[in-house]
Point group: D2
């Protein structure tokens, strides 16, 4: 069924029909579409546009459709889009009356409203998955107790850090993702029913009624903008892309740490794979796949930014392309978060290997320089002297040697960690406070 | 001057030195760097790490440098980066003491703090430019009174809208940009001094003192995250890219509207160009350049997202590449906003041409269908009949004709506009309320 | 069935199993995979690695599978990937012998070989669709005879051009696409069987035998590079993206030209759509959808470029993500080309409207200046004077007026077009030669 | 000086003037612009459009300008673009005659011709830098003799490879870059002088004369396409982006290999940096910067692809934005190649550490399975048994143990490498042949 065609004298070419059809992709919106129809009818009834008895008939039929869908009834057919499917099924139930759902609205405002509901739900779902992964990180951090490992810059060993501190670093980046998805929810939380095709409606529609019915906090401010605006979708794709870069960084570390050379972790058998050729292999595939999918999230963001570039107001059919990247990003990010959670939850930390690496004396050279400064050397001199104990130990003067020896006598790995006690630092006191904040955030 | 080198036995190769140098680009940070140094010294003094007299000497010298810069003194030299430049100049003034500014901090936390200050200032500057453009749109909307033009979907004439409504559509998209830059400010508003190179400091630093001094609302939560996190820069680039898509859409309309075929606007002589070959040409170059620069903002966002992909914690030198795209996006977006403002402020709207186009009877066919529905036809039938008055007027039955004629008799352009009165609609009542809201937002 | 697992003591977690499964996407490779297996077995037999009788059994079974697939037998199951599916089915037919197809090769070299065959076929398929669209453009250009329209720069009317010239402009950009897909074919045309997992094989494999069998022109040069290299896929995605920008430009023109304001074309009823709300609408949706999909092709290119960034040699599981963007780009570009072809083939050119627009005297001002130069004025003076005939006609001196009048007397639209006769110019002689070249390229 | 303005009654607004000015960026084209002017004048003279004496005057003046530039004379002024600068200087020398260089051409065809010459030169320059890096890889490969190291998949040790084989893997990926830049050269190698603004010229211009003079192999086929086409620039940006991904992969390995954990290489003091805080650090900055810049090349490609999206024919001012990304990519890629070359040329390979890692018995498990197959086990069984020698050695049956022991007795690292002898394999015979091919390619 087509919702148009009055002035067309030829059927649509099948190649073009197939090209333009969005039903398969957009059936993800079906529940939102039915809810939006219900809210619209309620509004039309309250505004006396639709007689009560007609409204009741439509409402009954739509609610039946909703419950059928919930029982697993499929969305099928060669309809152009999800809205045509809804109206076709509705027509099978209530006859010509079905077309009354189009009074005072257009597919242009309908589809944006559906899509906003989808994005709002997606934000909440991803926030919940973020919380799960954050909780796993907190649990693993607590279990890791006082284990420490080298902290790296430039992938060179730099200074010692607690393993818990390292795990919590990722907790905080996910916390930013959680906040951003919250902002994205707010951005999407605006009902644009009433915008019609582009100019609003000649019927006495009241957007606030349908908005309230659907749980939106805000309504449209301008109909042209309402049907043209896809900022909420862009923002969603950006949130996904940024979150994906965070996961890619965690993933990269897991790949590194599971190598023979680092040997800091062992993937669980249930969360790794083998080789069809090399029977000794145990591969960190979950991490690699997550890292590899980063490109997908960037690509989806680029896709929609490019699509909206230079479109004049108001609706253009280009905008049909707004949903596939959002659907893909949402589904793939949900999967990545679950897989990262499963991997992280079952990972074996080889804390003895980490601890051994943390014994590398080079990790304390900063502290050595700090002690030398406390002993009265200017910073640059202390830094230089400490450096020479590594690069040129044989040419230190006797005085230099004794200064350095006396400084070393004050230093241990434990002291170095302990001394990093200020907010945000890598030592046990700071980590204890971070864990408390984290538990509060998670309501644990 | 290099801030390192104790263990190096060869000078840096000049090709690599040039490759790694960031001074030219990063001198945009110099004022922030000096302010950060001042705040750091104040903290070191209050925490009794630095004796008062040394702190005073350093403070005096840094403040002198600040005021010299404000008087136009240049940042020059073959220093590696802006921090090395600051310390070199400082050393010329206070000798070895200069290196004390490195106590309890590293370039890793310093540069992020500088960069966050830059992004915060950039957000405020862009927000101000957005407000200017929004004010111009409001002014032009008010001046346009009851002028109307066709509203378009698919670039086909669809329904009539007030010119003011069309201009305000852009006001609201810029309002979202304003909100987003505010969120970006909040994201950047976190002082990470104290993170040191990656693990915090063995000195009794108090991050909250320096944060307060610099006007930050929050401090770091985790040192590893603090030196690794570039979310604020990504968010800035995303805000710029989204804003650029809005400008590209306005620009696209200006290009269309200034064509002979539309003829809706005339660019001011001061805001357009001619041709070296075709003397009759008057080209909408400001709009084309703005539209053409959209790619730049997308490219910059992709650039940084790609750079941070899969970097293990904590600092990696790759992150030096975070600033050029941010600087470019900020500078280019500021310019685009000013140029759009100048163009919009001086644009001549040819309201008679618009008005004539708005007389196109096709624009009222939706209203015709609405009237037919009110007269009792089911929506689909009314829609079909209204369509046939366009595609197949000769084959209407007598009854159909009389229905249609009676419906037409109720319709005028003015009535159609007037009837679109609900919130967000394209008619005069809605526009009046939009203008009130807009003036309130702008505090006009 | 898994092709690995000897050392694993736990089953794969179902969430991860689902995450890593590629069968649904990669079944597009099944025919290539079977062909590659057949070629590999032939090589193993010729190199006396596999006894003739075993090779024959395997070959028979694989050929049966091939013909079953051709008869529509589906690829189904919960196998990890297409290679596991093939081996599982093969095992059902020939028992343990099935695993012999893994002798001397790995999934790493197998999948790249399959993928290269896919890309090669895709290049040829897209080249054929390009040729169809080019042929349509040539046909439409020939039909348009001497119709002319304004040529635009900055979307401002600039100089007259033949409609055929305009259509051929697009012919030539598609010709570059055709060339590029040919280069991409050559890039993909390299068999890397023999690379094994990463290091080649300890068996006496002869890559040139399997390459010849599969129709490849070249074989691998380095096994590490062989399993890591995805340049051919990047190049394919780039060719698609560039071609998509060409289509977006054609599409943009069709959208413009079908507007009421231009009125240069009318979309066929079979290649346009209507509105669910506005019965009078006839929308250029094929063009808008093609334009809107540009983002998809850019996104796919960004996706894979990002995925391969910074992967160490040799194979990493990230590379599983190489195929979905290639499949999407190939399928979507094929559809776009067919839809553009159908649209272009059925488009009605309103040549009278175009012709009327081409009468705009402004289009001849360049020619006016040229005549003034021929009459002895320096170019800059001629250009200036010609410009003033537009901007300030009332203030020309008597002498200027007579110069201009005399120049105008030499000018007509036809002469202007006729005079543009050199290679590549917009006039009839040049267009005739272009059409000859085009027909030769298309072997028409 | 402006090349237009006849019909303009107000000066350009300074904000817009600054916005539109391209002189600073485009002065990189100045030599090409002068050469193009010279070729154009020669053509005009030969076609008798320009009297010999005028042509001679212009030629002399332009040649003087060229030699002044070569002596370091700067390109300065507040001119709009490089073409205006050239004409202004020319006018200072020859008066009004200067404007004759505009006869029969426009800035639209001029700037594309300049730009194509730039891209052609850039391709050749980058090809030369690729050859240098390839030569360094060959030299280092030859020096590495029979050194071997573990080959990795999934960053897990997989099978042994010769270091030379590993280095040559990168040689071959650069060889593909070299080929691609050659194709890009061919794409750019087309003179479009004669296209004029968009429609060709009314003068009897002969594009083949100017093309020959400038060293182009081909001339324009269609003027509209000629001024609109930027495929050559897109292709250049793609070649740069792909090459950058190759460099990022080499860089990633250098970062990994220089870590304490791998310890396979040591960066030269002249090609690494230290830390302002941690005096023991030696950081692989050249590699990190190269890896970090990958984003820049992707961003530039996205930038231009986005810019050209949906531009109608012919020239639009958006296209001014085509050059900055090309200039940046060219300059940055040249630098990256030089820095990678310097780093690679001076890198210390710690072959003993590599060799020790290559002793890992796990690396021979594939070969173990191969031997078991040769001893008569089906592949899947052999693979399974070999796997259990790693995962579950204690539960092998006596028979299994003796099979395995007998298989191990045939295996050594040297034999494993030696057996990989077929084309492209990781063993010494294959590497010898690769080196011969490489030397031939480099004409060494």
């Amino acid at each position: 069924m087509k919702l148009w065609g009055g002035r067309f004298q030829k059927p649509t070419d099948p190649v073009f029909e197939e090209f333009g059809r969005s039903l398969e992709s957009d059936q993800r919106l079906v529940v939102h579409d039915l809810e939006t129809c219900l809210a619209h009818i309620k509004m039309l009834k309250e505004q006396s546009v639709l007689p009560e008895v007609e409204a009741a008939k439509l409402t009954d039929a739509l609610e039946t459709m909703l419950s059928e869908l919930e029982s697993g009834s499929p969305v099928e057919g060669d309809d152009e889009d999800i809205h045509s499917w809804v109206e076709r099924i509705l027509k099978e139930r209530v006859g010509e009356l079905a077309s009354s759902i189009r009074i005072g609205r257009s597919r242009n405002d309908l589809v944006v409203t559906d899509f906003r509901l989808y994005v709002m739900a997606a934000c909440r779902e991803i926030q919940a998955l973020l919380r799960e992964l954050q909780a796993t990180l907190v649990r693993r951090a607590e279990e890791s107790k006082s284990s420490c490992l080298p902290g790296y810059t430039h992938l060179q060993r730099a200074q010692p850090v607690l393993l818990a501190h390292h795990l919590l670093a990722h907790f905080w980046s996910l916390e930013r993702d959680h906040r951003r998805f919250g902002q994205c929810f707010d951005e999407a939380d605006c009902c644009i029913l009433g915008a019609g095709a582009l100019a609003g409606s000649s019927w006495p529609v009241d957007p606030s009624i349908s908005a309230k019915e659907l749980g939106f906090s805000r309504i449209l401010q301008n109909s042209l903008d309402g049907v043209s605006d896809r900022d909420f979708a862009l923002q969603f794709l950006f949130c996904c892309a940024t979150c994906a870069t965070h996961l890619s960084r965690m993933a990269q570390e897991l790949v590194l740490w599971s190598s023979s050379e680092f040997g800091f972790v062992r993937f669980d058998d249930a969360w790794s794979t083998g080789s069809s050729l090399m029977p000794q292999k145990k591969n960190p595939d979950p991490a690699e796949l997550i890292r590899g999918k980063t490109g997908l999230f960037l690509g989806n963001l680029v896709e929609l930014l490019t699509t909206v570039k230079a479109l004049p107001l108001a609706y253009n059919r280009d905008l049909q392309q707004d949903k596939p990247p959002v659907f893909r990003s949402k589904e793939e990010l949900s999967a990545c978060l679950q897989v990262m959670n499963g991997t992280m939850a079952t990972l074996e930390f080889k804390t003895q290997v980490m601890q051994a690496a943390a014994q590398d004396k080079g990790l304390l050279i900063t502290d050595l320089a700090d002690v030398l400064v406390r002993q009265g050397l200017p910073f640059s001199e202390a830094h230089h002297l400490a450096g020479r104990t590594v690069s040129d130990p044989d040419n230190l003067s006797g005085e230099e040697k004794s200064k350095v020896d006396s400084a070393w006598s004050e230093l241990t790995l434990e002291k170095a960690l302990k001394s990093r006690a200020h907010p945000g630092a890598a030592g046990p006191d700071s980590v204890k406070r971070q864990l408390e904040s984290a538990r509060e955030i998670l309501s644990l």
